[in-house]
Symmetry: C2
Subunit: 373 residues, 2 copies
């Protein structure tokens, strides 16, 4: 028989790949539109095409119960076309807009009264200088669209630092350089019919703008901080009408405030720990939410879960040996590989460890990831 | 890039289906030979063909690193052909023979000194009568090959009860009707290079010859009983040179002995609990063992795990409503569906609950499964 519900995922990266297991489990048919036949989600790839091509996306989406995403790069016009054809898009274009355009996101979160860094839209050197003067002569400049993993973000100390991006035309987002103690992330899932479910607040450790490690729950977080983070994430999901999983990246400031940094409207690297660490993983939850099925329990299965990304991989490109080493030396660590060719800095997998003592759990996860260096 | 290791699975049922998630996780390419395009493991089906057809199986198996199985029905001649072509077959034909032929199994276990019910090979009414006389005028008669889920097994009290099977020719297996208190199952995985790893002993509750529930670990089992069961399973795996997962079905007799009932040389219904309940599931472990990768940790993640099969399904054949009900009423129970059309008595899925109190865990699992009635 066919699946009990069919979901079309646009984009064949590791996020689509990690939806395969839960889809198989729940009897959902997963169809993936990939850029190339050797995508990470190759096993579920049913069409090859460009996510910017309206005809390719429409042909892919016909007959599914809902369309969702591996990334946020599908143009608004393509999304609107799907809606016009009566195909449910989750999250919908009106929500995705705020994940695609950081200026729109900052503006909307400010309207909703949610805590964000000081920010402004700047279009010329004069506006950049004015913002810098008011914020201690340093700020973070971001391109409103197209940035990820540290790309499209830079620290500026003068208008000169912004000159090349300003020359491209169009407004940029400028923000205060938040004096933060650490980065946190709060994930929540929301169904079209309104139910929400959030996981524990986690700490996300970035290196060179890329997520390196996630600790669940965030160590030494007060109950108040966790409650504030969950309230913020639910408010964003409801205020922006997000459906599916939403990850809210947060700053914990030196003066103990929580500020919203970025949004991701899909399963997110900061939630990979939930595959082993929670009763319901972010990938299963995303599928449930996208089909408007009841959401699963988000309790943790161990006091601590640590996820460490496998970045780059071995210089000789041979993953068989480090995989055998990781499995052999760390039989209690879950190893995930994404079917990607190793390349410096590339996210090619992750590992997850669980346990009662954070030091021990973090050590095991880091050691297993290091087997791939 | 291609998979880091390629496994070919012969048979596209739910066991192959449940290998998909772990294969994706570990970066293994899984290829499945299914009987039909709508098999349970359709997502990984790369060829359609009959597992008894040497040409079809050989064409499928060329280029994989190892062949394994969703069932034990591949003829010895076909298996030997694969070996002759240099394709690793795990478990190999010399081991699988003992899962295919119950007379051969009983004979070999007896040679190994392992505890089995009293048994004999019988070919005529006189031999049946002789066995019955020595065993209280009741016995269990089994066809040596082709039986599963209660088929090919019957209780006999006279040679007349055996007449139709005897008329087919060929010896039958006759066994004492073991006065057993309950049924247990012990799973173990074994690599070609010799490493073994076993899960806790579990209790398996059968209804009408079909597994209905599994409780892990087996309640009220002594440490001695668990150790004996593990020793038996490891001895069978080593004595029969099994590679991959081996499930040993056991009787716990009224006088507290453990006797081997049946063997399954593949992941088995009695091990489905391990998907959520153990650090390494039987499906991931099977893939590791088949590729001769280091085996994973088999610790439990909660004091109790209960798996209940979903048998039959709703009379109207619509699984969407009971699935939504099960997910909604039991957000902490894992629901697995096999992509099969409901039919009375058919295994179409299972559910698994975990927790600290057995009564509560069993209640939740049974209630979630009952949503599909």
């Amino acid at each position: 028989m066919a699946g009990i519900g069919t979901i079309g995922v646009i984009g064949g990266g590791q996020l689509a790949r990690m939806m395969v297991g839960p889809a198989v489990q729940l009897g959902i048919e997963l169809r993936v539109l990939s850029e190339a036949p050797d995508a990470s989600a190759a096993i579920a790839t049913t069409a090859i095409g460009d996510h910017r091509d309206p005809a390719a996306v429409l042909a892919f989406a016909r007959g599914v119960d809902a369309v969702t995403f591996d990334h946020e790069h599908v143009p608004q016009a393509v999304l609107e076309l799907l809606l016009a054809e009566g195909i449910p898009v989750r999250p919908g274009p009106s929500a995705l807009r705020f994940a695609q355009d950081k200026l729109a996101m900052r503006s909307r979160l400010t309207e909703l009264g949610l805590p964000v860094p000081d920010w402004a839209a700047v279009a010329d050197a004069r506006e950049v200088e004015a913002f810098l003067r008011e914020h201690g002569d340093v700020a973070v400049l971001k391109t409103p669209t197209g940035g990820y993993d540290g790309k499209g973000v830079r620290i500026v100390r003068s208008a000169d630092d912004a000159a090349d991006w300003l020359a491209r035309g169009g407004p940029l987002l400028i923000e205060e350089l938040v004096p933060f103690r650490r980065e946190l992330a709060q994930s929540v899932a929301r169904r079209p019919s309104g139910q929400t479910a959030f996981w524990p607040l986690v700490e996300s450790i970035q290196r060179e703008g890329v997520c390196a490690e996630v600790i669940a729950p965030a160590p030494a977080s007060s109950g108040r901080e966790s409650a504030v983070a969950a309230e913020i994430a639910v408010a964003v999901a409801e205020g922006l009408d997000v459906t599916g999983v939403l990850a809210v990246e947060l700053f914990e400031t030196d003066d103990e405030r929580i500020l919203v940094n970025e949004l991701a409207m899909r399963p997110h690297n900061s939630g990979h720990w939930s595959i082993e660490g929670s009763t319901t993983s972010q990938f299963e939850q995303h599928l449930r939410a996208v089909l408007d099925l009841p959401l699963g329990d988000t309790a943790v299965l161990a006091p601590w879960t640590v996820m460490v990304n496998v970045l780059g991989g071995p210089a000789d490109g041979d993953l068989a040996r480090p995989r055998a080493r990781a499995l052999g030396e760390h039989p209690d660590v879950a190893v995930h590989l994404y079917g990607k060719t190793p390349r410096p800095g590339r996210k090619i997998g992750h590992v997850t460890a669980l346990g009662a003592e954070l030091d021990d759990v973090a050590y095991r996860a880091r050691a297993a990831a290091a087997a791939f260096d």
